[in-house]
Structure formats: structure tokens, C-alpha cells
């Protein structure tokens, strides 16, 4: 029983990893950020490249990937997203375009491949990142053999969720963000610099995606289109949980991951996936605002 729950927990943690950044950008800022999956992908490539060129191991790449993707997110907000606030569908199209640009940038090695220059670690092929020795194999816990890397992901996800919660609820920045979620005009009227806060929030969300990418790189292959499917899962979790609610996102990730694991174990994988989508549909039908929601915006 416990091992089934653990598998559910590790599925949940991966859902949450991707959704956490989205909870911030979509939940707090109201931007349908289709490039979120590509931020995950960029994070994974930071892990690949720094492993090849700097020889750093996976753990050290986590802060590096956070910085790189946060900086990229900050730039994107300043250049593109900033001009689209309040135009929900336009953000969808614009960020989708950015997503395609980012994919192609990696595939074409930032254009260097046109000149016949090949950078190891980039290009359209599959890449991989070695996992540190102590995270390989299994870990004995409560008389069970658990996949150490999964345990590590669960722990990191919990820490990240905790940090995100702390940032949003216990820091001055978080207070501003929450004020903007409730009512941007009113927040601006009270003297909050909405533009500056939004840029930092977007950077934070992107940075979280970058960390997710590093952790993903440890158990799956890294390729330019790896992000495309993840963004769907991410939105699913955020919408089910309730837009703008961090707690809701965490709860939704937990519930969906466990349902997926239970159904997959007792029936099969495909039924597991289908049942998750079924639950999402039911939640949206019965509680259109998600599991945890509050009025505002």
C-alpha cells in the first residue's frame, strides 16, 4: 500500500514541479504562458550543457538553471508579455510563438548550425544528463526499496513549494503580488509598482520551471520538444486546483497524481491517464473555479 502511495506521490511531485511556476504566472498574473514548457526544456538544457562544458553535477545546476530561466523570463516579460496584460487570448498566441522560437533556437543551435558549427549538447537530437551516484538505485525506507531519485524529486518539490509559499505569503513582494491578483487597478492606486512586480513574478515562475527542467533531465531524455506536452499537464493542475491558489495547485497535483497511480496500478496506464482527465472534466463542470478559489480579479 505504502509503495503505491509513494508512486502516486512521485507522480504528483512531477505534476507539481511543472505546475508550480504556472501557478505563479497563470494564477497570479493571468497570462496563459504557453512557453512555460519551453522554460522547463531550457532548464533541462542548462543541465545538459553545464554537465558537458563545465562538468558540474546535477545538484549544482539547480541554482544555475533557476538563474538562467528567471533571467530569460524577465526578458520575455519586458519585451513581449508586458504589452499584452488583460488580453488573455493574445498572451496565449504570443507565448505559443515564443515557445516555437525557443524550440527552434535549441534545434538550430542558436543559428550556429547554419554556419556548420555544432555545439555538443544542442541540436535536435536526444540528450541525457548523468545522475550523481548517490541518487542512483534504491533507498531503504520503512522496509521498502524506493527509487532514490524519486525521493529526491519529492523532497526538492516540497522545498520549492515551501519557498514559493513563503515568497507569496511572507514577503513584501508576495504581498504586492497577492494584491495584484485581487485587483490590479486598486493595487496600483495604493502605490504598488504593478509593472515591476509583474516582471519579477514572471521571472520567478520561469525560474521554477527551469528547476523543474533540471530534475526532469535526470529521469527522461532531453529534447527540444520535451516541453510541449508538459504545459498541458501544468495547466490541468492549475485549473483544477483553482486559479490563483497555491494551496489549490498543490492539492490538485497530489490528488491527480494519486488517482493516476492507483488506477494505473489496478487497471492499466491508459486507464490511469484517462481517469485523470475525467476527474479534471468533472471538477471543471461541478466547480468551474477549481477546487480552491476565491473571488477577485
Amino acid at each position: 500500500m505504502f509503495d503505491t502511495l509513494f508512486i502516486g506521490l512521485s507522480l504528483s511531485s512531477i505534476l507539481l514541479l511543472v505546475a508550480l511556476g504556472l501557478a505563479v504566472t497563470y494564477g497570479a498574473m493571468g497570462i496563459i504562458n504557453m512557453a512555460h514548457g519551453e522554460m522547463v526544456m531550457i532548464g533541462a538544457y542548462v543541465a545538459v550543457l553545464s554537465n558537458i562544458w563545465l562538468g558540474t553535477n546535477l545538484l549544482l545546476t539547480i541554482p544555475l538553471a533557476f538563474l538562467v530561466t528567471a533571467a530569460l523570463g524577465y526578458g520575455l516579460e519586458r519585451l513581449v508579455v508586458r504589452r499584452l496584460y488583460g488580453r488573455l487570448l493574445d498572451t496565449l498566441l504570443a507565448t505559443w510563438g515564443i515557445a516555437i522560437l525557443l524550440q527552434q533556437a535549441i534545434r538550430l543551435e542558436f543559428g550556429l548550425s547554419f554556419f556548420g558549427i555544432h555545439v555538443e549538447g544542442l541540436g535536435s537530437g536526444l540528450q541525457n544528463v548523468p545522475v550523481p551516484q548517490f541518487l542512483q538505485g534504491t533507498l531503504g525506507l520503512f522496509g521498502l526499496q524506493l527509487n532514490s531519485y524519486r525521493v529526491f524529486i519529492v523532497l526538492v518539490t516540497l522545498v520549492l513549494a515551501g519557498l514559493t509559499w513563503f515568497t507569496l505569503y511572507r514577503t513584501p513582494l508576495g504581498m504586492k503580488v497577492r494584491a495584484i491578483i485581487r485587483n490590479p487597478q486598486m493595487a496600483a492606486a495604493c502605490g504598488i509598482d504593478v509593472k515591476a512586480t509583474n516582471a519579477i513574478t514572471f521571472a520567478l515562475g520561469s525560474g521554477l520551471a527551469g528547476v523543474a527542467g533540471v530534475l526532469m533531465a535526470g529521469f527522461r531524455s532531453v529534447s527540444p520538444d520535451m516541453g510541449a506536452t508538459m504545459v498541458v499537464d501544468g495547466f490541468m493542475v492549475v485549473v483544477t486546483g483553482g486559479v490563483g491558489s497555491l494551496l489549490g495547485t498543490m492539492a490538485a497535483a497530489g490528488i491527480l497524481g494519486e488517482i493516476n497511480a492507483l488506477v494505473a496500478i489496478f487497471f492499466n496506464e491508459i486507464a490511469g491517464r484517462a481517469s485523470v482527465l475525467l476527474v479534471v472534466i468533472l471538477v471543471i463542470l461541478l466547480r468551474p473555479a477549481g477546487l480552491f478559489s476565491f473571488k477577485g480579479r
Partner: protein, 414 residues
């Protein structure tokens, strides 16, 4: 003014024509070129693999050209991009067959793309050369199939697993689409015939990378061998999860039918070391022809670490079989190729191959490789000689009772 402009236009057209002349003359003198199509994805998710196949086709064409061409003509390969999308494959196949009027196209990698282009080749009577191993269950008179069909990958593999490895309980796992499901069908009948049993037959969505539940099921199932028909980059997360959940290939080996040198390199060889794959061709096959092939391919793509694998080898040797058929026929027509390629033999890099006179599939030699720490395989068992392709073996086809014959499919037997 109008007149002037017209004059200008005429002058421009004439000079453009003059500029174009040298090229025109050159192609008229080299005259004698024969156009063939190479239809592979140059963009999109499948482009990584399909670009390699297109390079192999071009390598073979350049070698044939260097040795004098075919019937005195130089081969000109028209590369078209299928963009990893069956619909684009169909459009580009139409372009090649109808507009460029080529009689032969080498191409397609997935079954979905082959099925999409098939009607065009059949209606317009052109030939498609298809190099990838596939699930069988097809018998077109307009396709020459160079890859293995299920009986050529499984018929000595499963008995070998049962008898030599001593495994009795199979866990069958695959991606959820036609190839793995057809492979599973053939596998099950072979497992039962060998006196062993299969404990599960499970599928995961194509491209899915979450293996926690499946590997846990494998662990709990009591199986002593895993038979994997998983395709694509799911393979990488599968092997990684397998080892990370504490399973070892020494006790519970993964025996695969799709995992090739490419996936092994992408996952990190340590995750696959000790597992098995059944293929007609491995990069490690120790023949002078193969070593020279690898060397020439690496030089051609200008990558000293380039990898060769089974479909790549078939993509290469298919041009030589085509050349022999054309030379025997004395012309480049589809009918000539179809009738004269029957029974053609060629000494390919991995070993001798022969096109079956009945069903236009190819006789290849089944080999079993065990993956080593360096990402290469060690051939642990070989059938020793090519065996007959039976595309309908999952439905009871045997060498004595053919479903797919020179006349086409005998559908009364299905």
C-alpha cells in the same frame, strides 16, 4: 512608358534565361541522370532519425555514381521533407510521383507515414522502398520492404530467451499503437509454443515518459524477463526507471525489439548494459564490409562519432538492390523494378540479404545482441543465415502456406 516597361521585362527575361543557361546545359550534358526520390522528415520530432536515413540513401547514391551509375546514368536524389507528419508525407509523395515523375522513392520511417503514401504509389504505379522493420500485415505490390517483419525478429529470439536464458515468465510491454500490439500477438504465440507463459501485456501512451507505475508492476509481477516493444524516447525513461527502481538486467533482463544503438547512446549505456535486443544488423557486427561501411558513413556525414543501426543499414543497401533490379530490367520503370527485384541478392554491410520472390519483403539474418558498457552490442546468438520474411505470421502464415504471394494478398486466408 508601357512599352518601355515591357521592353525592360523582355530584356530581363532574356538575361535571366541566359543566366540560367549554364546550369541547364550542365544538366543536359550530364544528361544522363535518373531521378529518384528520398522522402524523409528533415524537420519535426522524427527528423533526428530520418535525416540519418536520408544521408545513408545519399551515401549509397554517391557510391553508385562514382562507380559509373546505373545503366550509364547518374542517380539524382530529390530529397523531400515529410516534416514528421503523415499528411505532409502524402503531399510530398504526390509531388515526387506526379510532378517529378520519379518511378522510385526511397523513404518513410513510421508505419503511419507509409500507410499515408501507399495509395499514391498504388494508383500511380510507382515503387516505394521502405527500409524500417515494421509490424507486417501488409502486402503491397508497389512497396519493397527492406526491414525485418515480426517473424524475423522474434522466431529465434523467444525460443532463445526460453531455452538459453532459461526464462519462463514474460512481462510484455509496449507503446500503445499498431507495431507493439502486432509484435505482442506474434510474441504470445511463440511464448506459448515454447512452453513458457506471459504474465502481463501492458501498454503505455506513445511518447509517455512516466514509468514509475509500469516498472513497479514489472517488479511485483513475478516475471523473470521483460519483452519490450517500447518505441521512441519512452525507451530512455523506461531503462532509467528500471534501474533506478533497483531492478537488474542480470536477474530480470529487458529483451527488446526496438531499442537500438541510438537509444542506448541517448540514455547512457550503463542503464542498458546486460539487456538484449534482436535485430538483423548491429553496428558491432564484425565484418570488413561493416567496418568499411561505418567508416564511409562517418566520412560522408562528417561526424567521426556517428552511429549506424539497423534501419540505416537497410536505407543504404536498398539502393544496391534497386540498381541490380534496374540493370536486369534494362529500364527504370516500376513494373520492371517489381518483376526483376524478386530474388535479387546483395552482400550488405551486416550480411547477405535477398528480396523474397513472393512477397517483396527481404530475407535477413536474425541476430541477438547483448548491450555492453560502451553502448555497443555483443552478438550472443545468430541464426547464421537469412530467413524468409512472413508479414502475416501473426495470423498463421507459414513458409508452406503463404498469405502474401507474387499475385498479392490472398485475403481468403485471413
Amino acid at each position: 512608358m508601357t512599352l518601355k516597361r515591357r521592353q525592360f521585362l523582355t530584356t530581363a527575361a532574356v538575361s535571366a534565361g541566359a543566366l540560367a543557361m549554364p546550369g541547364y546545359i550542365r544538366s543536359a550534358r550530364a544528361a544522363e541522370t535518373i531521378q529518384v526520390g528520398a522522402l524523409y522528415s528533415q524537420t519535426g520530432g522524427l527528423s533526428v532519425v530520418e535525416k540519418m536515413l536520408a544521408s545513408a540513401v545519399q551515401l549509397a547514391a554517391s557510391e553508385i555514381n562514382a562507380s559509373g551509375g546505373v545503366l550509364g546514368k547518374q542517380i539524382e536524389v530529390i530529397v523531400e521533407d515529410g516534416a514528421s507528419d503523415p499528411k505532409t508525407f502524402a503531399e510530398k509523395a504526390q509531388k515526387l510521383v506526379i510532378k517529378d515523375k520519379v518511378q522510385t522513392v526511397f523513404g518513410c520511417h513510421t508505419s503511419a507515414s507509409r500507410k499515408a503514401v501507399l495509395p499514391i504509389f498504388e494508383r500511380r504505379n510507382a515503387m516505394l522502398f521502405y527500409q524500417t522493420h515494421y509490424e507486417g500485415f501488409e502486402c503491397s505490390r508497389n512497396v519493397v520492404y527492406l526491414g525485418a517483419v515480426p517473424n524475423q525478429q522474434l522466431s529465434n529470439y523467444i525460443p532463445w530467451i526460453i531455452n538459453t536464458l532459461g526464462k519462463k515468465k514474460f512481462f510484455i510491454v509496449g507503446s500503445n499503437y499498431v507495431y507493439p500490439r502486432e509484435m505482442a500477438k506474434v510474441s504470445k504465440s511463440l511464448i506459448e509454443a515454447g512452453g513458457a507463459e506471459w504474465v502481463a501485456d501492458e501498454y503505455l501512451e506513445l511518447g509517455h515518459s512516466e514509468w514509475a507505475v509500469m516498472v513497479n508492476k514489472i517488479k511485483e509481477s513475478g516475471a523473470d524477463v521483460v519483452l519490450s516493444h517500447v518505441v521512441g524516447d519512452s525507451i530512455i525513461s523506461f531503462y532509467r526507471e528500471f534501474r533506478n527502481q533497483g531492478l537488474s538486467h542480470a536477474e530480470l533482463p529487458i529483451c527488446a525489439t526496438v531499442t537500438s544503438e541510438i537509444e542506448i547512446a541517448a540514455m547512457g549505456p550503463e542503464y542498458a548494459a546486460g539487456s538484449y535486443t534482436s535485430f538483423p544488423y548491429f553496428m558491432s557486427i564484425d565484418r570488413p564490409e561493416n567496418r568499411s561501411f561505418i567508416e564511409r558513413y562517418r566520412a560522408f556525414v562528417n561526424d567521426p562519432k556517428a552511429i549506424t543501426y539497423h534501419s540505416l543499414e537497410a536505407a543504404y543497401f536498398q539502393l544496391f538492390l534497386w540498381k541490380q533490379a534496374v540493370e536486369k530490367a534494362g529500364d527504370f520503370s516500376a513494373d520492371g523494378i517489381r518483376e526483376n527485384i524478386r530474388g535479387q541478392e546483395y552482400d550488405a554491410p551486416g550480411g547477405p540479404v535477398k528480396v523474397d520472390p513472393d512477397n517483396l519483403h527481404t530475407w535477413v539474418t536474425p541476430n541477438i545482441g547483448q548491450w555492453q558498457d560502451d553502448g555497443q552490442s555483443k552478438i550472443v546468438d545468430s541464426y547464421g543465415k537469412p530467413i524468409k520474411p512472413l508479414p502475416y505470421s501473426g495470423y498463421g502464415e507459414t513458409a508452406e502456406n503463404l498469405f502474401c504471394t507474387a499475385a498479392g494478398l490472398d485475403s481468403s486466408k485471413l
